[in-house]
Symmetry: C2
Subunit: 383 residues, 2 copies
């Protein structure tokens, strides 16, 4: 059974246009996956996520394991039945949250033990139970459990870790049931090109359905991230999708698609929306800014999203300042629409082999930003 099929349709430099066929339908790549952490893309109905252009979403195994529990979701028809999203769903392994959220972690050959961030329960994730949980969720694209090495981990640590990851990848494959979804491997190795090569060589001979780049966008300089991606992607199997985990900054999407990345996910557009930061072709717009208080214009004249077609900056600012629920919803619709339209434009450019011109024009419009002071800050979190 082929659980995931990737077919390249066109290329423009290293950028590639393709179709990824899952058991729940096709996805045009390069694609961005909105994040539905707890079985919902925050504030939106599934049809609203799809209406912005999403063909696939991501859900977080760790969050769903601790609440409401993978068995509960399984009994209610899996994530698709539970939340009403009918397209493909990619789930992470739970590992990333174990390493970033949970307490009292212990990594051993067998797996990782940790305490739930919600109630302190002692839990355990192994390559096998991570697959089991994802199968209970009904995941179409499962991720192998890997270690997310601590920041500043040295070469030796990273090497031992990626070798263990490769053994975990074999165990994950062996644990997958006959009805399990596709399983993607994760290439680690930090910023060391030789370790990245070693990691992908160890994974390449396994029958994985695709490959992800892990451990990037975790604080390293942007040019280092780009160098690692540029050196790694060409060595991955060309007939399988390449997924760059956790990257969603618009400029990074454009740049990394240019290096041949097919799949992206990130909380950035949805989280920024809830913090009042709106994405536009000319950069970020902080809807809290008092200059919008009387402005009848939409956030972006050229945007076709519901928020821009129907409401003024003044109204969106009012909703946000008044902490109205509708603010988070409209802002989320706008940012997802922006990101998913950007991906559609990228695909169009690759199809016409005009990627370079597209990337240049994208950068030039960003540089026009009339509001450079509106940088995104994590502060002032609303919801």
């Amino acid at each position: 059974m082929q659980r995931l099929r990737y077919q390249q349709k066109a290329a423009s430099g290293a950028a590639r246009l393709g179709t990824m066929t899952t058991r729940r339908g096709a996805v045009d790549t390069p694609a961005f996956m909105p994040v539905g952490t707890q079985g919902t893309v925050k504030g939106l109905l599934p049809e609203e996520v799809a209406a912005q252009g999403a063909q696939i979403i991501l859900a977080n195994t760790y969050h769903l394991m601790v609440r409401p529990g993978a068995e509960v979701v399984a009994a209610l028809g899996g994530l698709h039945g539970f939340m009403g999203w009918t397209g493909p769903i990619l789930t992470d392994s739970g590992g990333f949250q174990v390493f970033s959220l949970a307490g009292l972690r212990k990594v051993e050959e067998e797996g990782v033990s940790f305490r739930s961030h919600l109630d302190g329960r002692l839990l355990r994730l192994t390559p096998e139970t991570a697959v089991e949980a994802q199968e209970m969720l009904g995941s179409d694209l499962m991720m192998m459990l890997d270690e997310c090495p601590p920041p500043g981990a040295g070469r030796d640590y990273l090497e031992r870790s990626l070798e263990r990851d490769a053994r975990w990848a074999s165990r994950a494959l062996a644990a997958r049931g006959p009805r399990g979804g596709a399983l993607l491997g994760i290439v680690q190795g930090g910023v060391h090109l030789d370790l990245r090569r070693r990691s992908l060589e160890l994974l390449a001979h396994l029958d994985l359905d695709g490959y992800a780049l892990g451990g990037l966008s975790v604080g390293e300089p942007k040019e280092v991230m780009m160098e690692v991606i540029a050196a790694t992607v060409p060595r991955l199997p060309q007939d399988k999708p390449v997924y760059l985990m956790g990257v969603g900054e618009p400029a990074d999407l454009v740049a990394c698609a240019g290096l041949g990345v097919d799949l992206f996910d990130c909380v950035l557009p949805t989280r920024m929306a809830r913090n009042g930061t709106l994405l536009t072709p000319r950069g970020r717009l902080n809807i809290r800014n008092s200059r919008h208080a009387h402005d009848p214009a939409p956030v972006d004249e050229d945007c076709g999203c519901l928020a821009c077609r129907r409401f003024s900056r003044a109204y969106l600012r009012h909703l946000f300042m008044a902490r109205e629920l509708l603010a988070y919803r409209l802002n989320t619709i706008h940012n997802l629409h922006y990101i998913l339209e950007l991906m559609a434009s990228l695909r169009q450019a690759i199809r016409h082999d005009t990627y370079q011109a597209f990337a240049r024009q994208f950068a030039a419009r960003l540089a026009e930003d009339d509001d450079p002071g509106e940088a995104f800050t994590e502060g002032g979190k609303h919801v």
Copy 2:
């Protein structure tokens, strides 16, 4: 110019079916007005409010005066343009919030001075400025400024207050511009039937477009409230709508429509929704209850709302426990749908002159409530 027309279509006992025609369309009465305090019915788009059956909504002048300001709303096309609701809007005068929310109040013949609950600014509301603010908002049905007497106010206080109210009603009428909306008077007098009579006599000779009952459901025993309504409604002009302010408990809607009330508003269904309390024909359901954790059934098998057609109790509970934005939205849709369907059934019963049977059956189903412990508590407020 007739700003508001009421036409009675049928009656069943004291209950009456009618059509209230505003400059922005007709409203079938008895009607319930969802509350959009700050220029949005919390969490919903205007079309979602309409889809549940709402033909008219209420907005709060006080809240919109202090943020974003009535002038700001006026410059953006009034509330209709600002928020995108095209049907009629009733606005309160701002008085109720001045008396319940704002600080340092001082009531004089001229009007009331108070401090904004947001920033402590000293503000003033007079019969004239209350009309002016409502006209700036583009209100279709404006309420006169009245005093909301303090709890426990004695007869003498109430009498002086309602006499001042009558003078304020004349001033409000005189202040209304040629393009202003309908203006409704407010009958006060507490629980004293003779004071209620005095209040309505003072107002009856004014050319007001409708009459509201104020100062009820403020802590008095329910049978006292019913007695005041029963004694007052028959003395009001029969060719004008009667509005009972701030009442929205389902049993009260049924009972008070039976006494001839045409219009209701209340935050109860929407606020309860955000606290996880769902209204059903068999009473209140607390979605937090762990017995719903694995339940694939909808909240109400017979309910046609989006939440009940598409999602399980288990999913709604998960969303609520995880404090997901979608929880508040789906719960709000359900509760508004329930209340607005209840009003439609009431109208149907009056049309067929079966109000008494309807009210009996309604009470009998409530008495079947399988979950009497799920009383609504103000505690545990989410948003």
